[in-house]
């Protein structure tokens, strides 16, 4: 499955059970990245995508529910336990420093991961968002 996460400069994802940041244009890009695949997420994330069209499904255990061809948008959960099932990781970097108490626990900077795509765009409220795609 393909995993999508948003990280700050220290690999942080969330603080006090809340996402570190949000960006409307980033969410649009997430839907585009999912393509026609099912985009799974926690119910907490759903309001970010309310105005967007896609095959979006939400449940508490979305990482378990997602199939091999599906995409998971992960904001607050650690994913180390699912590493074997993840074949692609899309990382959006805020290029900002935020407080964090949940950190991304997959080291995509080391083997077997390799970066196959990197780009950047201006978000709706962020000056520069970097998008990186990693595959095994």
């Amino acid at each position: 499955m393909k995993l999508i996460v948003c990280l700050d400069d220290k690999g942080g994802m969330a603080f006090n059970r809340r996402r570190q940041s949000r960006d409307r244009l980033l969410c649009e890009d997430v839907v585009r990245t999912a393509g026609g695949a099912t985009l799974w997420m926690h119910p907490y994330s759903v309001p970010l995508f309310e105005s967007l069209t896609g095959d979006i499904k939400a449940c508490e255990d979305y990482l378990d529910a997602a199939g091999k061809q599906d995409v998971c948008f992960c904001e607050r959960e650690t994913v180390g336990a699912y590493a074997a099932r993840i074949d692609t990781v899309v990382v959006y970097r805020w290029n900002r420093r935020y407080p964090g108490d949940v950190f991304f626990d997959l080291d995509v900077g080391a083997a077997p991961w390799r970066c196959v795509e990197i780009g950047e765009f201006v978000g709706s409220s962020h000056e520069k968002i970097t998008k990186e795609v990693y595959v095994k």
Binding site: R18, S124, S125, H126
Partner: protein, 318 residues
Amino acid sequence: MKMKLRMRALSALLCLLMIFSLGCTGCAELLALLPDMEVPGDGAPASVADVDLDEIPPFTTEPYVTVNGNQPKFEEDELVVESYEFYSELDSLGRCGMTVACIGRDLMPTEERGSIGSVKPSGWQTVKYDIVDGKYLYNRCHLIGFQLTGENANTKNLITGTRYLNIEGMLPFENMVADYIKETGNHVLYRVTPVYDGNNLVAHGVQMEGWSVEDNGEGICFNVYCYNNQPGIVIDYATGNSALSEDGLPQTPAVPEGSGGESEESKPNYVLNTNTKKFHDPDCGSVKSMSESSRKDYFGEREALISEGYEPCGSCKP
């Protein structure tokens, strides 16, 4: 600036109407919110933090700890959706007190930050250590960050804070709040209170509280205590004096600067050559030979410069 003043006046009017409508119930709390207005007599807001230093764990490796389960302690009548800002008067020792603001997009700055080098907060000393990022131990720390309310050289909003407090402790929270407001257009109730031990001139730390108003804290909710510490440095909070700690860190002597010296906060992050579109470290040799007409001090972030088409100097590699 006119818009900001207008919002302050509107906010003050709103507060007065609320006081009248409540029959003065909770007057003290509401008076405390009157922005940039004289608060008469006993109506002056408390500038003491809701933090007991005895209950704060000693500083170790984290720049902040949570307080009250990470839940801020705002009163219900503080949760208005109108922007305002309040800065306590300096106390008899010249120390800053509590600052609070309901921050909306209308309070956020539209101009670049200016110099704050003329402000000397209580306990201020200009001192350098090799082990400190940027060398300068102390920054003039905005209690409510410039990116939130655009308050620049406001003496009621600047304390003597370590580089570590400024960058590792406070900045991440300011960033989170600023980006949330920019993205949603919502308001965030935001309070920063310096915490002093007795009559010390330098704060032991700052309590930071934030709560997003329109979504009832769903977006922003925190209550933290940020340590005014610097790893490897021992600080005498009574005076601001400092020394390297004796825990095996490099023993380079502190280099005290002249009393009129600039801090990291008054020194630009970069110096731009608007002619060549290169940016330099302020200490780069090229800066000295740069013509005044081409030189511009820059206090913002590196990435923003690059996005504006500037390139780093190949010599100093900023």
